[in-house]
């Protein structure tokens, strides 16, 4: 671990910087330091991320109105830290709340890929889970998990705001579990 080179990091070229930082990371991984650090900081990440779940400001169909009602006064989702963000770069969660047509499919995949890691996907409503009432449509995808990996499924047609908040509490448990495992961001 040649940290003595650290003050010169600003003067390195891109290639030199990559080789130097790769060397440091490989060192940490081989000695198990990363694992220890992860185990120690895991609970802090868990607490931070589960209490500030930021979904994408994106409404597709009927369940979107219940999503809006969930952040309204009666069912106040903001007490869980859920603030909707307009740009996918600033979000953690892709909340899909409507049927997925073939026209939106490439945009949905692009939005999913634009959200930085760690990210979670919540399928809200029957249409996102399995195509819903539109089982014989020529234009509807039969389920969100055909396009992106889904973490939480919230059933309902439309899913009541309480059901949506319950789903998010389940997601909180999943987030906590992910970080406490002490083995994340292995890339």
């Amino acid at each position: 671990m040649d940290m003595s080179l650290y003050p010169h990091a600003v003067a390195m070229s891109a290639d030199e910087f990559m080789t130097w930082s790769d060397a440091i990371i490989n060192d940490l991984l081989s000695t198990g330091t990363k694992k220890t650090v992860d185990k120690l900081t895991g609970p802090i990440w868990a607490w931070g991320m589960k209490n500030s779940m930021h979904p994408l400001h994106w409404g597709l169909a009927c369940c979107a109105l219940e999503m809006a009602a969930a952040s309204a006064p009666r069912y106040d989702a903001e007490r869980y830290g859920m603030i909707y963000r307009s740009s996918p770069r600033q979000t953690d969660i892709l909340l899909v709340n409507g049927w997925i047509s073939k026209k939106i499919r490439p945009d949905l995949r692009r939005l999913y890929e634009m959200i930085p890691n760690p990210k979670w996907v919540v399928a809200m409503g029957e249409c996102a889970i399995s195509g819903g009432p539109w089982y014989d449509s020529y234009n509807c995808i039969q389920g969100l998990d055909q396009i992106v990996p889904v973490d939480v499924y919230i059933p309902g047609c439309p899913a009541r705001p309480d059901a949506m908040i319950d789903g998010f509490m389940l997601l909180q448990k999943k987030i906590e579990d992910y970080f406490r495992r002490g083995n994340f961001m292995e890339d």
Binding site: K102, K103, Y135, D136, S137, Y138, N139
Partner: protein
């Protein structure tokens, strides 16, 4: 020069249409409703007459029904002064799917005609922009024809 009615009653409409266009057949009339049928060649003239002389300023719907050997284009036109609606049916044969476009009379028909083309394949001659609207651009079939079967109909 035909008379201009601002708020024509159902009987006045019936009389005006049949006297000016003998080929128009009035199928039925009800309170505030007139159902008429006209041949394809004069459909644009009839629509122009209904707009100018009968003051039907609003074109609500332009759609089609697929009766396998022919298609029926349906125009639902509305009058804002007395709530009367005319239901105009025009038959289009299956082997020659063309009909005159009424977007130059009513701007509101623009998207309706586009949608009817993309779902049925009926070409509206002289439409400013006959492109796919609701379905993705790469679809090549006309979904609402009876010949296209959905998953559960096969």
């Amino acid at each position: 020069m035909a008379e201009v009615y601002q708020s024509p009653s159902v009987d006045e409409i019936k009389q005006a249409l049949t006297s000016n266009f003998p080929d128009v057949e009035i199928i039925s009339t009800e309170e505030r409703r007139v159902k008429a049928k006209c041949p394809r060649e004069i459909s644009h003239d009839v629509c122009q007459f209904i707009h100018d002389n009968l003051t039907f300023e609003h074109c609500s719907v332009v759609t089609a029904v697929d009766y396998v050997d022919h298609l029926m284009v349906v125009y639902l036109l509305a009058n804002y002064y007395n709530g009367v609606m005319i239901d105009l049916n025009v038959d289009v044969p299956d082997d020659d799917l063309h009909i005159a476009c009424v977007t130059d009379i009513w701007q509101g028909a623009n998207w309706h005609e586009r949608e009817t083309w993309e779902l049925f394949g009926i070409v509206f001659d002289n439409h400013p922009r006959l492109e796919r609207l609701l379905t993705p651009q790469n679809y090549e079939f006309f979904p609402f024809r009876k010949s296209y079967k959905m998953r559960s109909q096969e």
